[in-house]
């Protein structure tokens, strides 16, 4: 499907062009999500896109589905309600690094723990874009931000590791540079029956870039190109070679009982005396 057809079909075209800054990766990720939804052949009328608050969380407003732009950090809680109430809906959560790992961190680990069938795509630009460039829990230590004028001393999460430890059953990392792979990762997430989590390393040239000596979005994509290592390649590399790099690809995958299905099969069936 050409980008024109894609946009025509999956975007609310009257809302375009979007508000994002020139070179912002949000548009790339939203494009990848739409391509993945198309590739996965989802039913557009049975798909709900949920987000929190942030630049990235504005994405659902542009997408031609049932869309829900919630409060900051709470997308996964709302999404859990949507999915529990109607398990037939595909529920996709688009969220920012701040939205899902700062204020929303608890909902993230609990949704992962339950293994509820949600597909979560994190727009990780390592910063709070919407509020003007404060550091986030994913901002690399020593980076600069408006609230880290002397360089951030916070250690950043490895969010994929955290989600896996919390119980997430499909975990992948992509980048806006490796766009084609990203689409496939999201397709895999959509296909996975359980909690799927795709962290996307993306660029905020406006704030993260400016504060951290990346003059342009292109420089930031180059950085991704140079620092991302596919998991398979990494397996053959030494730890020195891997220093300062980050992994992309499918990081974890497991099949486990999905929450809403188990609710149906165990709780409702038992309550009705159909099984014991």
């Amino acid at each position: 499907m050409s980008v024109k057809e894609l946009v025509e079909r999956y975007c609310r075209t009257s809302k375009l062009p979007h508000i994002w800054c020139p070179g912002c990766g949000n548009g790339i990720i939203m494009g990848a999500v739409m391509r993945a939804l198309d590739k996965a052949d989802i039913d557009q009328d049975k798909t709900v896109i949920v987000s929190g608050i942030g630049c990235s969380s504005r994405a659902p407003g542009y997408m031609n589905f049932d869309t829900l732009h919630t409060t900051h950090g709470r997308a996964l809680a709302y999404a859990t309600g949507v999915k529990m109430a109607n398990p037939d809906l595909n529920v996709v959560v688009l969220t920012g690094d701040g939205d899902c790992s700062a204020i929303g961190g608890n909902h993230l680990i609990h949704a992962a723990r339950r293994n509820i069938n949600l597909t979560v795509v994190v727009f990780n630009n390592s910063i709070y874009g919407m509020t003007g460039g404060q550091y986030s829990p994913l901002t690399p230590t020593h980076s600069y931000a408006t609230t880290a004028p002397y360089g951030s001393i916070d250690r950043n999460f490895d969010l994929c590791k955290l989600v896996q430890a919390a119980g997430g059953t499909y975990v992948a990392r992509g980048t806006t540079y490796h766009t084609r792979q990203l689409v496939d990762q999201i397709v895999a997430g959509l296909g996975h029956n359980g909690f799927s989590f795709i962290e996307v390393i993306t660029q905020c040239p406006m704030y993260f870039g400016r504060k951290n000596k990346f003059p342009s979005a292109v420089d930031m994509l180059k950085w991704q190109q140079e620092h991302a290592v596919p998991v398979k390649a990494a397996a053959k590399m030494t730890s020195e070679q891997l220093a300062g790099k980050f992994l992309i690809g499918e990081l974890y995958h497991e099949e486990a009982p999905e929450y809403t299905a188990v609710y149906e099969k165990e709780v409702i069936a038992k309550a009705r005396g159909e099984v014991k």
Partner: protein, 72 residues
Amino acid sequence: MNSEVAHIDINEKWCKGCGICIAFCPAKVLVAREDGKAAVANIEACTRCGLCELRCPDYAISVGGKQHASTN
């Protein structure tokens, strides 16, 4: 090399001139106009890899002609 000449369409209104398509076109097909927006300079070289389309944050560039060559 591709046997057929591709067609690249740039939506001037949507293009924000970020330069991403230009910088990462493997075939150096694209250039920046004075205002920063993308323009086609060298269509013959285009392999229709589709990367510019995939990476454009603003859905402003589209690759026509035959189906995208598969890249990896």
